[in-house]
Amino acid sequence: MIRWGMVIDLQKCIGCYACVVACKQEHFLPPEVFWSRIVVSESGEYPTVTKLLYPVQCNHCEEAICVKVCPTGASIKREDGIVVVNYDKCVGCNYCIVACPYRQRTYYADSKREYFPGQGFTELEVIGKELYPLQEGTAVKCNFCAERIDAGIRQGLKPGVDRQATPACVIACPAKAKYFGNLADPYSEPSRLIKDKKAMAFHPEFCTDPSLYYISR
């Protein structure tokens, strides 16, 4: 059985945004659409302030609320645990976006919006619309680079171990703060980290059983 998941070590994250940029590049994401974010918080008062960095993305919950509330069946949970959106079925009602308690979905409103307004699309944007066409008027979100994982598995590679089969944000991290693997395998690196480092998911009270865990300092 496979349940793809991720562990993020908050001790190692330096807030460089490499994961955010890598995700943007990998999926040719348009302006204002982010599948991976760094949420920056702080604690303490001047002069003793600590900056707190939280890389966040879709948690690919085992009990995904977005899948339950979707009226068309566009949001589905694959057998390997990845939650994806079928853009051809999505009707753009925004119910999944509002229902997600982690706010990790985005409504793709305007396909004509350019990164450099008034200057036309860049070559990258043009290529992106052909290679990775998102549909305007649908909900979009992180998919754990499912295309990389599927392609890698077809080639006999191991996601989380082999770079070509691992999500872009994981391999882009210079601090190696992200670990990707099969949470259903108790001996996989993420599973061992969750057990040894007592990693925890955000907001367990939502009873969504996320597949994204965090190691605190």
């Binding site: 939280y54 509002v98 009270e205 939502f206």
Partner: protein, 306 residues
């Protein structure tokens, strides 16, 4: 996009925007129209006001349905929205609305031809009732927004829908020359619902305020935030106090002596108050901060909640 500073996104209480800003305003209006229309049909059919049934049906179908379609990113795919009634309240709602429009339409046609069908009337009213209540449940099941995630919200919306429907039914009768004193029970029904609403609204707000912190933040923003004027003037003063004043006046002098203009004003402002209440509930639906309190970051304790 919310007007809050971006750096506060999910660090502080973050409002939802998809169902209330930009195109989302149509969603707010659609929910209001559908529940008002179905409520009007329900009340009118009970009191035998055929024109009221028709107007309610039209409000639901044209205004409510049309606005819902305009809100969608791909309106031509709307037929797909009935595919998940087992888990999705939007799916169930669309089924209720479509069934209500069909059965309600048939019931009106039969009534207009003098054909009485109790079974059809009962089914139409059940479907109208379900149409009125489904919106509250669609919002209530969103656990990420504590202000909505309460059993009182569907009750509040249902009472508001029926109250608005009763008011509009009254307006139809008054417009048709029925004197205020001869309103066949719909006036008392409307008054009763007003007092129920008067009890439920503060109960809902108080319960939310003493619930989770995000709920408290929602209530505080609603009654003391940027839009406090909307709440206190439109929702409370015009939408509640004025109708109560008219009711008390009509009880003192008698409904026959109550000027029509007062009754029309009361109905208009109660609808306006209902609409803006729904807008404010959508506008002030805050999510809990995504990130935990600093203690989690340091020690791993108190994880998950802030």
């Amino acid at each position: 996009m919310s007007s809050r500073p971006l750096h506060e996104w999910m660090v502080n209480y973050t409002p939802q925007t998809e169902w209330v800003e930009g195109k989302g305003v149509m969603f707010c209006l659609a929910f209001f129209s559908i529940q008002l229309g179905a409520g009007m049909f329900f009340v009118s059919s009970i009191f035998g006001i055929l024109l009221g049934e028709f107007i309610g049906w039209l409000i639901c179908a044209v205004l409510g349905g049309g606005l819902h379609l305009l809100h969608l990113g791909h309106p031509m795919r709307f037929y797909r929205m009935v595919l998940r009634p087992k888990t999705s309240w939007v799916s169930r709602g669309l089924l209720f609305v479509v069934a209500f429009l069909i059965v309600g339409g048939l019931q009106m046609v039969f009534s207009s031809r003098g054909i009485s069908s109790l079974a059809l009337l009962v089914v139409a009213n059940i479907l109208a009732f379900l149409t009125v209540i489904y919106g509250g449940f669609a919002m209530n099941c969103i656990s990420g927004i504590p202000f909505w995630n309460t059993a009182l919200l569907p009750v509040l919306y249902a009472v508001a829908g029926f109250w608005g429907g009763a008011g509009l039914s009254m307006a139809v009768l008054l417009n048709n020359g029925v004197s205020a004193g001869a309103l066949p029970g719909v006036g008392e029904f409307s008054r009763g619902l007003l007092f129920v609403f008067l009890f439920i609204l503060p109960t809902y707000l108080i319960a939310a305020r003493y619930g989770l912190p995000a709920g408290k933040a929602s209530v505080n923003e609603m009654v003391r935030g940027r839009l406090w004027l909307l709440f206190w003037i439109v929702v409370v003063s015009l939408g509640l106090v004025l109708p109560i004043g008219v009711v008390i006046y009509s009880l003192v002098v008698g409904l026959e002596e109550t000027p029509f203009i007062l009754l029309y004003l009361s109905i208009t402002f109660e609808l306006l108050g209902d609409l803006f209440l729904r807008y404010l509930i959508l506008k002030n639906g805050f999510y809990n901060p995504l990130v935990p309190a600093p203690a989690f970051y340091i020690s791993g304790k108190n994880a998950g909640t802030s």
